[in-house]
């Protein structure tokens, strides 16, 4: 076994050490070579990903390739190399000869976990231990490393901790110590020690790690965070390092925690905890002190918070108030909490038992409360009592018959007929069934299959209770089994007459089907589903009946049956049918998932082996299918691929071919005339800094420098200001183009031509430009987009939390550009959200037009209907899309961005374009209320959120949106834009601080205004730009109408009252609010003016100064309005 973590550039060195571990004088390299060449060795090279340095990595792979080449004598030995799939995929290095026999280890399945425990502790104890783990811990144990840690903890303490909190503490402690023997992060530890004032002992390191993890978990909104953001979160939580070094310490800590597998880093440099429950564990700490009513709201707690609240109970000195709150609203949660507490609290578990017992009694449809019954069993076990002891304790005041009745209900829920009979026998006096036990006795007879007895008992019972619907239903069931269909039909119909519950319709349907009346049966099931859409059995039978004719629809019902299965026994049946149908329809991946779920449901079942055999067969078919699929199809399905894979595919799609490569560079060539060669670098670092750009350019192979052009593909979407400046400076040496992996991903998902256009666009932005400030339309290129960090974060966070947001702002402030970048940010931070963006326009006349437009922009729109869409088909299409995605991405949501939403609603004159816009809004709102659709309208005003009615129609969106008014850029963002673009000019500009201040004073940070002014400056000056140059440029700009057309256009787009205010303030300067509202005007006019002032402040045309005066926000706009007044003689 060769641990590759110790590789330093010579494979034979590490091999020799491995051949004689611990010996001071290892065997000679020639001996080692002779041994390998003899073919006598099986070489296990472990942890290729642990070689971090890219040069070393390349050297190692080259060495292994040379040694494993079929003609090499060293290939006579057997070679096995292990490493993390993701790291291997991300590096472009290939194990040329071993690649063909590549095995990917999958997570452990439940049965393997059980087998592991059984082999370690014996079958009986293994089974006990397995059951002790509980569902959540079993999930964690799917990673062998973690399973062995559970095992290690068990070995240390002799038990599986009941509190997961304690277990996680132990886990993390072990992970922090893991890998010491491999020195996985010795360099990082050394660098870290250099930055800290105190010595870095193991304890200190553990404390720092805990601080970092707590800060990170507390700040992360979702399970993923970008590296740069994560670094900031961690830095903010550190108390030890100096302020200056905090970010560097945070960076090193993150790196160390990634190497130790406490955290993980993906292709897009997003960080996540190795398991979401660990994040929740650390998150729980921030919840201490939050009132129980807030933690567990009456409407239920969000799923993502559930774990954190369970952990919290274990952390609180007095968990009683929190558990009692859970007892009010969520018994399963209360059970989990009690199970997790470090010490038992008998009075709370007794209360829980009482409530569970009460709920079982209420259940009348057998089997629906089986999970509750199971929970009751577990509570009894926790308390060290038998079920009957605990039940007797609760029902102590009741008669014996009543107690027996309730116990029989309990056992019938569990399907335990023997116990039902036992209880019944115990309660009977001789052979007679007492009247008050008639119903339960009949149910028991029915459960045991004694239909004659059941019919007899139910008939007796019905004589006393002729309107008991359940009794009719149950007797009908027994009649049906006896094939007395007429009697059964009569009973079922009577039950429905008395109480039209979904299960009765389902039973009737089954009977009708038995009577060869399938269409009626289907009809009855549809009624059942209308009554109760969550009726698993109705979905199940409906799927059975329609499967032959409409397998796709049947599949959807089978999915629903699984989703709503009331207990594990039914779930097992439903899963089995679902897996069969999935397999039949060629849905191999979902079929594998269903089979895995079946195994997880009952891992000790004898059928596990055959199910695994089926999985293996399906896996082969899936692999065959995958092999024939293009990278694009994989991308479509998986959402993302390693940057290196995407980059190569993208270059190919754009018409280029990779002709040569080194460790970090590719050489791409086009085959057209004249052929050009383009060096391409893959920058996988999480943050693109100026220094890194310099390093990359310096590493360009000498032979490729003559091509004069360079393309950098970066995995990150974050460009520091300094990186912008460096990029401008590098243009003197080479034409440096830059694209992000997210751009590439988007282009690949669209088409070849878009790939080509992306490449073309990136190359166009290289070199020096006469006017680098000029830019039309949406700014989608990363190198042209400045600032907006806070806006992007706020919007992404809000959307991530499921809030509806509206984006509003003055024309040309950059809303559409922000949306383009928001889409990418969401892909990185919230991969569970599918973004669909549409830009509305005047071509839309009807709701159908709007629905068509949306559907056409959906991913995989080719498979969706785009003609004759009604509201219902639109809803169905969207819902079906969401469900499909939900299977691949749990917690999936669809974000619909409606840019230029004003085209949907009537304008200020009340004229509407889309006739039935209210129904569109109503439908979008209804879908939003289902919890998976987010709508983000974008436009100049917040009318959609504010206007109560249009004519007679009420606005369904009133106050539904969280308005986000996009203001100008911050001063430093504006400075970055001016400086960076100025440096890219053919005659570069160098702004003095006074000049930058003068620009900001005039443009107010409005990006289009700053670019406009920049264009004017660059046309007249170069070199050092002073405030004087800026003033001259403003004068020049305002002297030519065409040049400031953008400003007047923005003014023209304001409505009448707004224009009036803009003129008044341009001419008279800042005024108090009261003075702007004409006192002598009618109330309606005054209201209009007030609203216009508020809107102009919201969209940042005006600003309320600290002294309360209202003034123009943008100097340039004010001047343009002044010009209009002068030229046109406009009255105020």
């Amino acid at each position: 076994m060769v641990l590759l973590g110790g590789y330093r550039g010579n494979f034979w060195e590490v091999l020799c050490q491995a051949l004689a571990p611990g010996r001071e004088s290892p065997p000679s390299q020639s001996l080692a070579r002779a041994l390998v060449e003899s073919g006598a060795l099986v070489l296990l090279l472990d942890g290729i990903n642990e070689v971090q340095d890219s040069d070393l990595q390349r050297r190692l792979v080259t060495e292994i390739n040379a040694l494993t080449a079929p003609a090499a004598p060293t290939a006579r030995s057997l070679w096995i190399v292990s490493g993390r799939v993701q790291d291997y995929e991300q590096s472009r290095l290939r194990l040329e000869y071993l690649e063909a026999r590549r095995w990917e280890l999958q997570p452990l399945t439940a049965d393997l976990i059980y087998q592991y425990l059984a082999s370690a502790f014996g079958d009986a104890q293994g089974l006990v231990l397995y059951r002790e783990l509980g569902q959540n811990l079993r999930e964690v144990c799917t990673r062998p490393l973690l399973l062995s840690m559970v095992f290690a903890v068990y070995q240390q303490t002799g038990r599986v901790s009941t509190g997961r909190g304690a277990l996680y503490r132990e886990f993390v402690g072990l992970l922090l110590r893991w890998g010491d023997e491999r020195a996985v992060d010795s360099e990082i530890r050394a660098q870290l020690a250099g930055l800290l004032p105190e010595p870095l002992t193991d304890e200190r390191y553990a404390a720092l790690a805990e601080q970092a993890l707590s800060a990170l978990a507390a700040a992360m909104v979702t399970t993923l965070s970008e590296w740069g953001t994560a670094m900031k979160y961690v830095a903010a939580g550190l108390t030890t390092a100096t302020a200056a070094s905090r970010e560097r310490v945070a960076n090193l800590l993150l790196e160390s925690l990634v190497r130790r597998s406490v955290l993980q880093r993906d292709t897009f440099h997003r960080v996540r905890f190795f398991h979401h429950t660990v994040q929740e564990y650390f998150q729980a700490r921030r919840l201490i002190g939050v009132p129980a009513s807030e933690l567990i709201p009456a409407g239920g707690i969000p799923a993502e918070r559930r774990e954190a609240i369970i952990f919290l109970a274990g952390l609180l000195p007095d968990p009683a108030p929190l558990v009692e709150r859970a007892l009010e609203f969520d018994l399963a949660l209360a059970f989990e909490m009690l199970h997790d507490l470090p010490r038992p609290v008998p009075q709370l578990s007794r209360r829980l038992a009482e409530l569970l017992w009460e709920r079982i009694r209420l259940g009348s449809v057998t089997g629906n409360q089986r999970r509750v019954a199971r929970l009751f069993q577990r509570v009894a076990a926790q308390r060290g009592q038998s079920v009957e002891e605990l039940a007797a304790e609760i029902d102590g005041a009741k008669s014996r018959t009543q107690q027996a009745q309730r116990l029989m209900v309990f056992y019938s829920e569990l399907g335990d007929t023997q116990s039902q009979q036992r209880v019944l026998r115990g309660a009977m006096q001789g052979q007679d069934v007492p009247d008050d036990l008639l119903f339960r006795a009949a149910s028991t007879a029915c459960s045991t299959g004694d239909d004659d007895q059941a019919i007899d008992l139910y008939t007796r019972y019905l004589k006393q209770h002729p309107t008991h619907a359940v009794a009719h239903n149950n007797r009908g069931f027994s009649y049906r089994r006896k094939r007395d269909v007429d009697a059964a039909l009569k009973d079922y119909q009577r039950a429905i007459e008395l109480d039209g519950r979904a299960p009765f319709y389902t039973n009737l349907a089954v009977l009708l089907d038995q009577m060869k009346r399938r269409p009626e049966a289907i009809q009855q099931l549809e009624i059942a589903l209308k009554k109760d859409p969550a009726s698993a059995s109705a979905h199940f039978f409906l799927a059975n009946y329609i499967e032959a004719d409409d397998p796709e629809r049947a599949l959807s019902h089978r999915d629903q049956a699984v989703r709503f299965a009331p207990h594990d026994e039914d779930l097992a049946i439903y899963l089995c049918e679902l897996a069969d149908l999935q397999e039949k329809l060629g849905r191999y991946a979902p079929a594998i998932r269903s089979l895995r779920e079946m195994i997880a449901l009952d891992p000790t079942n004898a059928q596990v082996a055959s199910r695994k055999g089926r999985i293996a067969t399906l896996r082969q078919r899936l692999d065959e299918e995958q092999r024939t699929r293009s990278t694009r199809e994989r991308l479509q399905e998986q959402g993302e691929l390693p940057v290196s894979v995407m980059a190569v595919e993208w270059l190919k799609a754009a018409g280029l071919k990779v002709v040569e490569s080194t460790a970090i560079w590719l050489l791409a060539s086009n085959e057209r005339q004249p052929p050009t060669l383009l060096p391409v670098s893959l920058a996988s670092e999480p943050l693109l800094t100026g220094a890194l750009l310099r390093e990359l350019i310096d590493s360009l192979p000498t032979a490729w420098r003559r091509y004069g052009e360079v393309l950098i593909v970066t995995g990150t979407d974050t460009l520091t200001t300094e990186a912008h400046h460096q990029l401008a400076a590098l243009q003197d040496e080479y034409k440096v183009a830059l694209v992000t992996a997210l751009d590439i991903r988007d282009a690949l998902l669209k088409s070849d031509i878009v790939c080509h256009q992306l490449l073309d666009q990136a190359r166009k932005h290289t070199g020096r430009k006469a006017d680098p400030f000029a830019h039309q339309g949406v700014v989608s290129e990363r190198t042209e987009f400045f600032g907006r960090t806070d806006d992007l974060r706020t919007l992404a966070d809000r959307l991530g939390q499921g809030q509806q947001v509206g984006l509003f702002g003055i024309h040309k402030i950059g809303k559409s550009s922000l949306l383009a970048h928001l889409g990418r940010r969401l892909h990185v931070g919230h991969p569970e959200i599918t973004v669909v963006q549409v830009e509305l326009n005047a071509a839309l006349r009807s709701a159908e037009d709007v629905y068509n437009l949306i559907i056409r922009q959906m991913p995989s729109a080719d498979d969706l209907p785009t003609t004759n869409l009604t509201a219902e088909t639109f809803r169905q299409t969207l819902t079906a899309f969401h469900r499909r995605r939900q299977q691949e991405r749990p917690g999936h949501r669809l974000l619909l961005i409606l840019d230029e939403y004003a085209y949907l609603i009537p304008d200020h004159t009340g004229q509407g374009r889309v006739q039935d816009f209210i129904s569109v809004l109503g439908l979008l709102k209804a879908l939003h209320q289902e919890g998976w659709l987010l709508v983000l309208p974008c436009g100049r005003t917040a009318a959609l959120n504010r206007q109560a009615v249009w004519g007679r129609d009420e606005n369904p969106f009133i106050n539904l949106l969280h308005p986000h008014f996009l203001g100008p850029m911050l001063r430093e963002e504006n400075d970055a834009l001016m400086q960076s673009l100025g440096r890219r000019a053919e005659r570069p500009l160098d702004f003095t601080p006074e000049a930058l201040a003068a620009v900001y004073a005039e443009t107010g940070g409005h990006p289009a205004f700053s670019r406009l002014l920049g264009s004017r400056i660059v046309s007249a000056a170069s070199g050092e730009i002073t405030a004087g140059h800026v003033t001259a440029a403003i004068e020049a700009l305002l002297s030519k109408k065409d040049d400031y057309a953008l400003l007047t256009a923005i003014y023209d787009k304001l409505d009448e009252e707004e224009q009036h205010l803009a003129r008044q303030l341009a001419q008279q300067g800042p005024l108090p609010r009261q003075q702007l509202i004409p006192a002598d005007a009618e109330i309606e006019r005054r209201k209009r003016v007030r609203d216009a002032i508020d809107n102009l402040i919201d969209i940042t045309v005006l600003v309320q100064q600290p002294d309360g005066m209202i003034a123009h926000r943008y100097g340039l706009l004010r001047r343009a309005v002044e010009r209009e007044i002068e030229e046109l003689g406009l009255e105020i």
Binding site: G777, N852, D907, A1045, A1049, K1053
Partner: protein
Amino acid sequence: MSATLRTNPYHPTRPASHEIFVGREDDCRSLLAALRSQGHAASIAGPAGIGKTSLLNAVQRMLLANPDLPALIAYLDLQKGHASLDLLLRHLADALMAALQSQHGLRCPDACIAQTHALATQRAQIGEILAPILEYAFAHTQVAYIPVLLLDNVHRLGVAATEDLASVLQTAVNQHQITCALAGRDELVAGSYSETSPFRMLISYNLNLTPLSAAQTRELVAKANTCGWEVEEGCDTLAYQLTGGHPYKLHYYLANVLTTSERLSCEGLRRRQPEIEPYLAALFRAEPTIALGSSGYAELSELIRQLIRENRLEDALEHLRAEARWRDQATLLILRLRRCLSDMNTGLVRRDEASAEQTAIAAAILQLLHG
């Protein structure tokens, strides 16, 4: 004396060909600069006859002559039968497909045409409609063509249709999917205000076309010389004085003189002036497309009668079509007229039959005009 075969280079109603096109160098340069990359929209505004179409044609020629620019240039005259937005979108796509065939020899397959038409019918966004064409072209040439749409006579569309057009163009321009130039009589950026009217935001370069200068007029007059006509000195100055450099008027005068005399002389110009001047005055007075008052109606009626007398039925119908109340009937009559002319040219009907049909159309015009 032997007759010399000389062509009359002037034609007031046709856009200027490469040979006769003069001046406008700065305008062409600016327009080309504005159209060279995706995501730009330029407008050319100016009164009737000022040379908007000729300038568009000149720009088209220059773009085609530039091998470095992978442009796919489609010219579309918006006065021709664009009754609805989907029809207009369809014509845009057809024009682009025709451009692909004529400029690059690629004929879109039927499936691509059908897909494009279906998208146009659904009033999809321009980017979506053109995508199948561009993708097809890319697959065959590995060139990502930039669609350059040259849209002429925008003023013919009417307010609502113009706003629709501007709005759909806006999306495509913003997304850098197309580049376009719009030519019309009104200055597009000074259009009427509306909450969602996007013209002001669409146009990034606006060109107000002015008459030719005296020097450019001299250049134009000299073209007769290159075609073998004798040109008297001082003709250019007089032509400039008579027309103010207005290209239509210049062409009208020069064409007229060359039709009736053997040389281009000051005397010839002066002799034609009494006849030409009232016609041109009437023609250009009738230009505004606003609702006509009683005096405006009388002028238009006179102009149309004059055009009918000159057998310029299509011109007469175009004037009628500019008025909203006659638009639909006039459009139908134009179609009828074109069918008749086409049938005559292809020999489907005899000349006398076609003549009878034209007489019927003229009668229909007069009937329309007088209610």
